[in-house]
Symmetry: C2
Subunit: 188 residues, 2 copies
Amino acid sequence: MGRWEAGANLRLREAALNLFSQNGFDQVTVEQIAEVAGVTERTFFRHFPTKEDVFFSDSSLIIGDLVGAIRNQPVEASARQLVQVAMTALAEVFEPNRETLRIRAQVIASVPALRERELLKQHAIASAVIDELVDRRIPRPRAAAIAGVGMVIYQVAFAAWVTDNARKSLRTRIEQALDHVATDLALG
Amino acid sequence: MGRWEAGANLRLREAALNLFSQNGFDQVTVEQIAEVAGVTERTFFRHFPTKEDVFFSDSSLIIGDLVGAIRNQPVEASARQLVQVAMTALAEVFEPNRETLRIRAQVIASVPALRERELLKQHAIASAVIDELVDRRIPRPRAAAIAGVGMVIYQVAFAAWVTDNARKSLRTRIEQALDHVATDLALG
DNA sequence: GTACACGAGTCAGTCACTGACATCAACTAG
DNA sequence: CTAGTTGATGTCAGTGACTGACTCGTGTAC
């Protein structure tokens, strides 16, 4: 279908991750990324609307997984069960990619612009989850609180997992955090 | 101490708010803002590190107010009391500026870059509150959950207040939201 | 075999943002 | 009163993210 090497999108993402983690986000120009990937700068922006987006292009998939997992639960499921299956769904996607996610997290942590974007992504995820909970006839304030607590649990568990030498699974980390907060906060 | 009209900072902020709300964030250049404020583009960037920051320069004050309000509470105060005084402190700062805040919220809502920044600001506030709660010997996961719920309450109450025709006070809105979530979630 | 859709290249331009240096009122030291 | 310092601004010349308009081969549909 094209006169060029296929997979430009993947090559751009890999080149970006490598260059960013070696030299820092601000020290790398889009032109350099494009060159390493064997395309032009203009092509980079055909694949990703901004320089930051090369890091966040898969977030819509995650939303789909989360919402799908919740949707598959029976109507009588408790708030805690819902949070748990959503988290487990996340863990299944993340678990095999620990090393990439670790590098990614390091780069994000060191660049304010990327932290902003990460927050926006999490906000979008939370909104989607809230809407799904509201569809299950949970009143919106309670849905927002549940989703908010869920995000906190995710953040705590993910941070622990990614900096983890003992290599507990993300799933274990999530269960620990969930236990912790749930007993503290009567999440029923 | 200067050969120029004083108050450049305020003039820039007002010019930006006006222009953004009339024409949209992306349609206004920094050069235009500076021109309306009677300075050069370079001077804009001496006052605000980015175009977005002209909207968020007072967030550090807010952190101070919140943390101060919490710090003044007795050690035996419940989580709910802490959230309540923090919210009340916020309400006192915001209440007199409803109209400006309303316009501001509209602009922010319509521009992804500004929503990102708003989220980052809220995240910074939440982190500061969490640290303060941890200083009060509340375990960090519980502190994070409390602060998270507090942010949810703030968001719900603020959104209701700002789009409010009946003109209930922000303070009332906060109390309503707090009641709502607290009974739902056993916030002790 | 012709048309056309598509994924990329090319080129010229806008605008956010930065560094280096000049200016000039007010203030300060002597 | 003069000389020097300070601090907020102006001026200017960049860099780099991002966009619009256009071109160019290649595969596919007809």
